[in-house]
């Protein structure tokens, strides 16, 4: 009897997976849209009061005043009354879709410094392409759409040579289809304390210089060798230097992540010394070195993070000054740069929460950055810096259809992004989730769950780890072990998602329900099919933090 039920379950799941695949391929046929009746801000020209945008094959087929544009017969018409259309915003320096490793704090000062064995030797990896470790997630995609981002540069975060970034259009969750440019640049951090050489900032500077010098020498040797190979020893193959050649010898972009004003100067020195195609990123202290930046004329990817750097005089001299700095002084950075005529892009940089990004753009405007400059700094300027202004950054015929529709003027309090087009695909933007109420119960621990579905019953064990509102953990069932993701508990309400491998396909099941001290009740849903779950706490087996991984 039980075995029969199991077979039945598997068959049902198989059809569902098939259906899932079909719906995917359907999405690839790009529909034709005509958005009518909206106010258009193309950035590249004056606003159009009542305009039409026709989108075909992922591109802007035509754009202009109503009446002057022919609306194709095959177009799906979208009424845009009351809406404002802008080019999709570009985040020129972020690190979304990357899994962050939890760093373990060194337990003592001794452990952090020397104790170097030859085995621990430094392995630099400038060849690392962040594209290969992308994990696009729907929830992140939605939160970025909510801000108005349609394009992001994903930047690798760790190490001196962090690796190479990738430019993505936020058109779905398939990494390959998202790529606009890969790689864009090599990213460099001024790392201050590592376990192996270089362990210090001065060592990092020396290491960077030596790496650049060696690359130049290697490139020169290779060039000599390809011209007159007779009588010249071949250069010894070096994968590390090989991967630096495009950036050092061939002048592809090199982006220096600058945490403070001294980092900016260090970057400018290196850019000048090695004649690099250098970019400065981060730099929320750019306002303190305006003179340097005016002379250097390098592209700036300015962070929207206004926290004063750790060792800054604004951070070390008491909480009062630090707070004032974060609220009033550092948010003026973009306005000051703009007044000095410096061109810059505004980037999420170290900000992870979507609310903060938008709030901080608004703060910059409050502190004197003209709204239209803010818009340029997130559209056409980053497009130019990223070398894609022929494709993105403004609403023009022939460019990629990355368009956002807002309920009012952009970056104004209360203005909401209602719909975004990315590569011509339409995404409706949902309201942001409401503020989270605190969890009423701590449901960390092991639970015995019973699932009742049309296909029969099933038992499984839940291992849950709760921290504040968020839920992590895994599910152990007879089909295998599945991770719990996006788990949230607000008040009594509990929801989470599990990605399960079923018949070689990854399917997402969502759970919604209520939590009590000793019971969890709710339903799983998957493609319209629901299954009830009732779980009881396994007593005495409270879970310790860290026990899951």
């Amino acid at each position: 009897m039980k075995k029969k039920a199991k077979v039945k379950r598997v068959i049902v799941l198989f059809f569902f997976s098939l259906f899932l695949l079909l719906s995917f391929s359907e999405a690839r046929v790009l529909p034709v849209y005509a958005v009518v009746n909206c106010k258009i801000f193309p950035v590249s020209g004056p606003p159009i009061e009542k305009g039409v945008i026709v989108i075909r094959n992922g591109l802007i087929e035509s754009i202009g005043e109503e009446g002057k544009i022919v609306i194709p017969e095959d177009a799906e018409i979208i009424e845009g009354e009351g809406c404002f259309a802008y080019p999709g915003l570009i985040d020129a320096h972020g690190s979304f879709f990357l899994e962050t490793k939890k760093e373990e704090e060194p337990s003592s000062e001794r452990e952090r410094l020397p104790a170097l064995s030859p085995q621990e030797k430094f392995k630099p990896h400038p060849e690392f392409q962040v594209f290969k470790s992308l994990k696009p997630k729907k929830s992140v995609l939605e939160s970025l759409h909510r801000i108005g981002f349609t394009t992001v540069l994903v930047v690798p975060e760790e190490e001196i040579f962090a690796g190479q970034s990738v430019l993505l259009n936020l058109n779905g969750e398939e990494a390959q289809a998202m790529v606009v440019k890969n790689p864009f640049a090599l990213h460099i951090n001024f790392v201050t304390n590592r376990n192996t050489y270089p362990t210090s900032l001065m060592g990092t500077m020396a290491f960077l210089r030596q790496s650049f010098l060696d690359t130049e020498h290697y490139a020169l040797h290779s060039a000599f060798f390809s011209r007159h190979s007779k009588g010249l020893r071949r250069p010894e193959y070096d994968p590390f230097l090989e991967s630096l050649i495009p950036f050092v010898a061939e002048k592809k972009p090199v982006v220096f992540n600058c945490a403070n004003l001294e980092d900016i100067k260090r970057a400018l020195i290196l850019i000048d010394e090695f004649k690099l195609n250098g970019y400065i990123a981060g730099a929320n202290e750019a306002w303190r070195v305006v003179g340097h930046l005016e002379r250097a004329k390098v592209p700036l990817f300015i962070s929207l993070d206004y926290k004063p750097p750790l060792n800054s005089i604004y951070a070390t001299q008491g909480e009062e000054l630090r707070e004032k700095a974060e609220k009033e002084i550092y948010p003026e950075n973009p306005a000051i740069l703009s007044k000095k005529g410096l061109r810059f892009a505004l980037c999420s940089h170290t900000l992870k929460k979507s609310e903060d990004i938008l709030k901080n753009v608004q703060k910059a405007i409050e502190r004197g950055l003209p709204r239209e400059e803010a818009l340029k700094a997130m559209t056409i300027i980053p497009a130019r810096f990223l070398g894609v202004d022929n494709l993105l950054g403004s609403l023009e015929q022939g460019k990629i259809a990355n368009i956002i529709f807002t309920s009012g003027e952009i970056f104004k309090e209360g203005t909401r992004v209602k719909r975004v087009f990315v590569d011509g695909l339409s995404f409706e933007v949902k309201e942001p989730p409401k503020a989270e109420a605190p969890a009423l119960f701590n449901i960390s621990g092991r639970w015995l769950a019973k699932i009742t579905s049309p296909m029969g019953d099933m038992e499984m064990t839940l291992e849950i780890e709760q921290e504040g509102n968020s839920i992590l953990g895994k599910i152990l069932s007879e089909f295998g072990q599945w991770e719990i993701t996006d788990g949230l508990i607000t008040g009594k309400e509990l929801s989470f998602t599990i990605s399960a491998m079923i018949m070689g396909e990854t399917v997402e099941l969502t759970f919604k329900g209520e939590a009590e001290m000793d019971s969890l009740v709710g339903t799983f849903s998957f493609m319209g099919i629901t299954a009830a779950m009732r779980a009881t706490r396994i007593p005495g087996e409270n879970f310790k933090r860290g026990g899951i991984r």
Partner: protein, 435 residues
């Protein structure tokens, strides 16, 4: 962790100080007792600084129009104090990832916002030699800075100074006091420290020859088509500069034996040692140091804090100075840096130096060691207007630095600073009262 030395209020005060004095490079200091260091004591005189440089030292100088005047009547005016060995104003002190780290430069990691700069000013210090630590046999290239608190880091650098490379002998580089969990690194003995330094210099000689051969070939009438320059090695470049006499050694060493060995090494390769650091056994080899024209940069009365410092004596400075060694007193500390004049005074008690001889330990002597004696270290026409004004004779136990000036700009004014602090306090109290 950097300690929070001064509060937010004080920072605000300093910022306002800058606002008051920011364009003042011209200054007239009147009626002070001038301790010139090199040209005797002037009981009452004036010093005129124009464009940051001392233009006149005389009686009754009329203030040129627009020049700010400081009345120093009853006060003592001396050259700004120079600390020949510190680690302040830096983001990092040791590169501990490798035993030889000659490729690193302190100039790359300046931190102009280190409160220790302000601390230094409160003790009349206007210039410091800020150095790589003593963790490695060969450390990195040091840098000389003026304590221009509030100015960008690059404006603090004294480009006239000698280029110096840090060396270290004894317990620190052989990691005698480090109990590491990993494998011990080479070297673990004093002979190892000497050997590894020697090995690096041999490498540098080789490297220099490679470049010379290349340069020669390049200069020849028909240079070969495939002439490839040698790989540039940043570890060896500073050592080559030492071999060529473009850079000098500053060597951390305590014991007499290893000090002598290092002198032998310098003779073998022909490089110059500007000074030995700490040198608590210098009195044992004073004649040798005089013969070799090598200075020492030491603590006045601080010793026995580790085995290799056990033979230290308080008479070291005075004894060596009288023998003719170029002696300077250093702080090697963010805190001691503000009372170097007290340390100098101790050399009068321990070893009977004269007032002038004692003051030389913290002014002209360190200036000579750093190669900046043409611009600093004494009050002479043509030198930079780097000046400290004291309430009493700087060697008195009751003295206090009141004003510190660099290139004619006031960077620290105790009276004004205290006044502002008082005002801030009152404001704070009013605020509290309202709450």
């Amino acid at each position: 962790m950097r300690e929070k030395i001064i509060s937010f209020m004080i920072v605000l005060n300093i910022i306002t100080c800058f606002a008051v004095f920011s364009f003042a490079q011209d200054l007239l200091i009147k009626n002070g007792t001038i301790l010139t260091i090199t040209q005797g004591k002037i009981p009452k005189g004036d010093i005129l600084i124009m464009g940051g440089v001392i233009r006149r030292i005389a009686d009754n100088i009329e203030p040129p129009p627009g020049v700010k005047v400081i009345d120093a009547i009853g006060k003592f005016v001396m050259p700004g104090i120079i600390d020949s060995h510190t680690h302040i104003a830096l983001a990092g002190v040791n590169e501990s990832g490798e035993t030889i780290s000659s490729e690193v430069k302190m100039m790359d990691v300046l931190n102009a916002e280190d409160p220790a700069i302000f601390t230094a000013l409160t003790g009349g210090v206007t210039m410091v030699h800020t150095m790589h630590g003593s963790g490695n046999p060969i450390g990195g290239e040091n840098v000389v800075l003026k304590m221009k608190w509030g100015k960008p880091s690059e404006e603090m650098i004294v480009h006239e100074a000698l280029r110096t490379l840090k060396f270290a002998l004894g317990e620190n580089p052989k990691q005698a006091n480090i109990f590491s969990l990993g494998e011990p690194r080479y070297p673990q003995t004093r002979m190892g420290v000497n050997a590894i330094i020697r090995r690096e210099f041999l490498k540098a000689k080789d490297y220099l020859e490679q470049w010379e051969r290349y340069d020669e070939a390049k200069r020849s009438k028909n240079p070969p088509k495939n002439l490839l320059p040698p790989r540039k090695d940043l570890k060896l470049e500073p050592l080559v500069d030492m071999l060529r006499g473009k850079m000098v050694a500053r060597c951390h060493s305590y014991r007499a034996d290893e000090t002598l060995e290092f002198i032998e090494l310098s003779k073998e390769f022909g490089f110059k040692i500007a000074a030995f650091e700490h040198a608590s056994e210098a009195f044992k080899i004073a004649d040798k140091l005089v013969e070799e024209k090598i200075g020492i940069s030491i603590f006045l009365d601080n010793w026995a804090y580790k085995v290799e410092a056990s033979e230290g004596i308080a008479y070291n400075a005075a004894y060596c100075a009288k023998k003719g060694v170029l002696v300077s007193i250093n702080s090697d500390s963010n805190e001691r840096i503000r009372r170097l004049f007290n340390d100098a005074a101790k050399a009068m008690k321990y070893g009977d130096l004269s007032e002038e001889e004692a003051l030389k330990l913290i002014t002209i002597n360190p200036a000579i060691q750093l190669g900046v004696e043409k611009i600093a270290g004494s009050l002479e026409v043509g030198k930079h207007g780097d000046i400290a004004i004291f309430s009493e004779h700087p060697l008195s136990a009751y003295t206090c630095c009141e004003i510190t000036i660099i290139e004619g700009e006031v960077y620290f004014d105790r009276a004004q600073y205290l006044k502002q602090r008082e005002e801030e306090k009152k404001k704070e109290e009013v605020k509290k009262g309202l709450n």
